[in-house]
Amino acid sequence: MQLFSKILRTGIATELLRASDPDAVEIGRALDVRARQLLGRALAIREVDAGSCNGCELEIVGLASPIYDMERFGFHFVASPRHADLLLVTGPVTRNMEIPLRLTYDATPAPKFVVAVGDCAKSCGVFKGSYAVVGPVESVIPVDVSIAGCPPEPADILRGILAALDRLSPGPAR
């Protein structure tokens, strides 16, 4: 019972996209339009940690939280790349994760695209030159969009996903 009274007290926590922030409004609208055009307003995301420090993961988890609530755009995380449309890859690709990352890309049905999240995924970040690292994500699988930041904010990640949707032409991209 306590739980439900708390639910009542809290109400909806999702931040409406603030009208004072024209940028944010634009993101929201554009996401809506894009996603509807290309994927019928449903985007399944598979997160792949290719060796990150988990800083980016903390921000990605924020996407599913009541505050950012990406589900309202029809985005959701899935448990298998077979169900996914988009791979959200974090971290510099370590030697151990090179083949798994390729396999994950291979296991994802087309049309699919890849968003590399964070500085490490883009350019190996502080791990550059380490003997345990193969290279940035794009040296292993084709990347559509890279998002800078260490770690990037959830809003940035949403913006990156939008950019990826923009890049994707309606035909299947293999």
Binding site: D69, H76, R82, T108, P111
Partner: protein, 313 residues
Amino acid sequence: MSRAIAILFQTLLAAGLAPLVGGFIRWVKARLNGRRGAPPWQPYYDIQKLLGKEAVVSRTASWIFRATPFVVFSTSLVVASFVPLVAAPAGRFIAGDLFAAVYLLLLGTFFLALAGLDTGSPFGGMGASREMTVVALTEPTVALSIVALALNAGSTSFSQIVSRTLAEPAAALGPGHLLAFAALFIVTLAETGRLPVDNPATHLELTMIHEAMVLEYSGPYLALVEWGASLKLFVFLALAVNLFMPWGIAVSLAPIPLAIGLVTFVVKIGVLATAIAVLETRVAKLRLFRVPELLSASFVLALLAVLSTFLAR
């Protein structure tokens, strides 16, 4: 002829409404979580998207894997075509049989479990093993709930159970009826992979039951499996509301009763779906080896339902 149209209409209605139930539950849960959530009609977008995608099939898989989505979907659809949804007119219109419904759905589960094993993935095998375990343990409860209902109505056919409950509203509030309803509700949660037996939103393979079996499906195959699963949930909810609270259901095929029947049906399903959403917000998933305790409790409820119905006669 009107009968054929009615069955066709009902089948289309079921196939059309089924994804909405799952979406509605997700939406209510999102609201209870303090989120805005996806709209209730989100599953339609998901299905539309999946139908347009490529399918990836495992090298190890045989034709069983490719045939299973069609089996799952069509068995659920056939069951949905003969359970009472909006109307249950007297006579032989809906001469469906509860046992036939339960075993047809079991046929879909049987194939889904085989498909889980077919790819050779350890998760698929794990899901198949657990799903068959849960299903095997739910069967006695389902059967006994049916016995309790049949004892009241004197038949295992839908239309007779419905008409008997309509004729004697007092019996519907009797202990036998309520206990059987409770038992069937628990079984519904278990059979359709809801909390506390299985978490439909889990991402951790080792906690999965239903999801683990469909981990390998992609594209249009996945769309059919998901649609079939939502039909199964829809059928179970429809059975629960119409067999235990049939009020408002149309007993003839005239337009006005049909319209009333449709509205009351949607409202009843909505209430039950909300109840599931509230429950799923409240409870945590049970450990796999705690599930049998829940299911044996539901069996005892069903047995008590039978006994109290017998004593009340």
